[in-house]
């Protein structure tokens, strides 16, 4: 195991602090109620009153979604470089090192072979804590491999996206990851192997404008912000206030851009159900009779 993939206690704490502070009462962004953060953590990081979805640390998300003991992480040896020698207030190379230390990860994406609700899948998910989940060469390569493994093994591809878009610090190489991942998907699709794209908060820019919007089925978490341009850029361009709920998952569903909104607690059984339907199975899964028994529903 490479050094950055070791478990890092300090990191887990740091990422938890960013989303839901521990041992405090916090104001819910959804209903403005004051909620015990412990309660939120117990209910899959959702508000017990209104169901508002707070961000969920990667490890918790993996445990929630992938069948226990099924996950084999892939592509662990791939790590980023600094092809442009990019520097803003800090050198990109230094930022990478700091982030690798803080997150225990090489970059912003993790890929797996695993099963979800009993169905073997080629799986990947963004690590938003790493530079806002931005897509540079490493992320693009790993996503491409997720699709290529799905094609080789004829198993569905599932990708959970949470990303601000292409990574500016790798310039044109980041832009080209949009073409690369979409080309891999073009091949996968021609084989008749399904790809389910799950959009988490937020999914924008070059990630939205490539593989994330190319799912055979596109699901989203409630309230997730999804779109091409960020709201600030749109406001600056058209000099208008944006309508309430603009670019939220519910807005996209209404405009016919996504298939369904699935609350976090239901994602595993729903994905299982969907994959079995797509596969043409005649029998439903037992877990569909008792959905997510081992996870509390908020």
């Amino acid at each position: 195991m490479a050094w950055w993939s070791r478990k890092n206690k300090a990191t887990e704490l740091a990422s938890e602090k960013r989303s839901v502070p521990t041992g405090l009462f916090i104001k819910c962004d959804g209903c403005s109620a004051t909620v015990d953060s412990e309660k939120i953590r117990e209910s899959l990081r959702c508000c017990p009153h209104c169901g508002f979805h707070f961000s969920m640390p990667t490890e918790e998300r993996l445990a929630l979604l992938l069948d226990e003991g099924s996950a084999k992480e892939q592509d662990l040896e791939i790590a980023p470089l600094d092809p442009l020698g990019f520097r803003d207030s800090k050198r990109y190379a230094d930022r990478l090192v700091a982030l690798q230390k803080n997150t225990g990860q090489a970059d912003a994406f993790r890929s797996f072979l695993a099963s979800i609700d009993g169905v073997p899948v080629s799986f990947g998910m963004f690590q938003f804590e790493f530079m806002g989940g931005s897509m540079g060469s490493v992320v693009g390569e790993k996503i491409t491999r997720v699709f290529e493994r799905a094609a080789e093994q004829k198993i569905p591809a599932i990708v959970l996206s949470a990303s601000g878009g292409a990574r500016m610090q790798e310039g044109i190489l980041s832009l080209m990851q949009m073409a690369k991942t979409s080309a891999a998907l073009q091949r996968l699709r021609s084989l008749g192997v399904p790809y389910v794209s799950v959009l988490l908060h937020p999914t924008t820019g070059g990630v939205a404008a490539s593989f994330a919007m190319l799912g055979d089925v596109i699901l989203a978490e409630p309230g997730a912000m999804i779109g091409f341009a960020g709201p600030r850029v749109i406001e600056q361009t058209i000099r208008q206030k944006l309508p309430e709920g603009f670019q939220r998952a519910e807005f996209l569903l209404r405009h016919g851009i996504i298939d369904s909104i699935v609350p976090r607690a239901e994602l595993r059984p729903k994905l299982g159900q969907l994959l079995r339907l797509l596969r043409g199975d005649c029998a439903a899964s037992p877990t569909n009779q008792e959905p997510a028994a081992d996870h509390p529903v908020p």
């Binding site: 470089l81 832009l175 341009a229 016919g256």
Partner: protein, 333 residues
């Protein structure tokens, strides 16, 4: 003659000098005048070399956006006989920020091809109508429809790239801007006909790439191609648009930079002083390069084209992959 008022600051002395030479040439000249013109022409050529041999990345960005620069239809009208423009996405509207149509490629013996490209407008009225070359989803969907048609008819595709980016607006988001771009990336990866793309001006992010997946990518000498506009990059990373110049240098977005990164197959030279000085010559140079690449691609079957295209994009990116256990991936200084 170019209007000095529409010239960039750094090229203005040259434009003024060239205009003076032009005026002298129009006078009925004796020997004396001819000698004078010769001296001025030598001076102009020195000045041109001085200015253009040393352009900063930001100056190249400015040239790529030059208001007098030839746009897609300026090239198409010079490269094609019988250009037949086709309109609309068959679903919502005709987006005039994208143009497409069939035509006979003159430098290739009048062979029919599909032209597709972003279209900027000249003057306020046309610029508005063309939305400054920023397509909405229906522009990309028109492009997709026409490129799929070309593939069915086995016609090569010439894509001319020139956009600040896809339009960021409420309506564009409502109609699925991200999906429209994404779909084109997927579809273009699978079209079994030759695709040659040329960045003729601004290659602005995903909005450019959505017409730019190709077998061969050419860039004009003073064109740029980037993941985000330098202004956008500056406002995010430097928290101020005034750092656009720095951002332009950091992002490595000039044709030379992009070639060094292995993304571009050929840089097409521009006429002295830039493409806006001589539309005909600029189009001739583009036509020559595009035809040469199309002829080379002609030798490949549809499947070979697709395999080659896949391999080309598959190889793009920069990362390490070592099995070494305890080595940090980056050298820390």
């Amino acid at each position: 003659m170019l209007d000095p008022r529409q010239s960039l600051e750094f090229e203005r002395p040259l434009v003024e000098l060239e205009n003076k030479i032009g005026e002298l040439k129009q006078l009925a000249g004796g020997e004396l005048l001819a000698a004078e013109i010769k001296i001025l022409e030598r001076r102009a050529s020195r000045l041109r070399a001085e200015i253009f041999s040393n352009l900063s990345p930001w100056q190249k960005v400015q040239l790529s956006r030059h208001p007098l620069r030839p746009y897609t239809l300026d090239y198409v009208s010079r490269l094609a006989d019988e250009f037949f423009e086709l309109h609309g996405d068959r679903a919502f509207s005709d987006d005039e920020a994208v143009i497409g149509g069939l035509g006979r490629l003159k430098p290739l013996g009048g062979r029919p091809v599909l032209f597709i490209g972003h279209q900027k407008g000249r003057g306020t009225k046309e610029a508005m109508r063309r939305n400054f070359g920023m397509p909405r989803p229906e522009g990309y969907r028109k492009g997709k429809r026409l490129m799929e048609l070309a593939a069915r008819m086995k016609l090569p595709i010439i894509a001319l790239i020139d956009t600040p980016g896809a339009f960021p607006g409420i309506d564009a988001e409502e109609r699925g801007q991200a999906e429209a771009i994404a779909k084109n990336l997927e579809v273009m990866a699978g079209l079994p006909v030759p695709i040659v793309a040329v960045v003729i001006g601004e290659g602005g992010s995903g909005g450019a790439l959505a017409l730019g997946v190709c077998d061969r990518l050419l860039m004009m000498e003073y064109s740029v191609y980037s993941v985000i506009t330098p202004e956008g990059c500056a406002s995010i990373l430097w928290k101020s648009q005034s750092h656009a110049e720095v951002a332009a240098a950091q992002m490595k977005m000039t044709a030379d930079d992009i070639r060094r990164l292995g993304i571009v197959d050929e840089i097409v030279a521009e006429p002295p002083g830039g493409a806006h000085h001589d539309f005909d010559e600029a189009a001739r140079l583009v036509g020559e390069a595009v035809s040469r690449h199309l002829l080379a691609l002609d030798k490949l079957s549809g499947q070979e084209l697709l395999d080659g295209r896949y391999a080309k994009y598959r190889a793009m990116g920069s990362f390490t992959e070592s099995a070494q256990e305890e080595e940090p991936p980056l050298a820390v200084e």
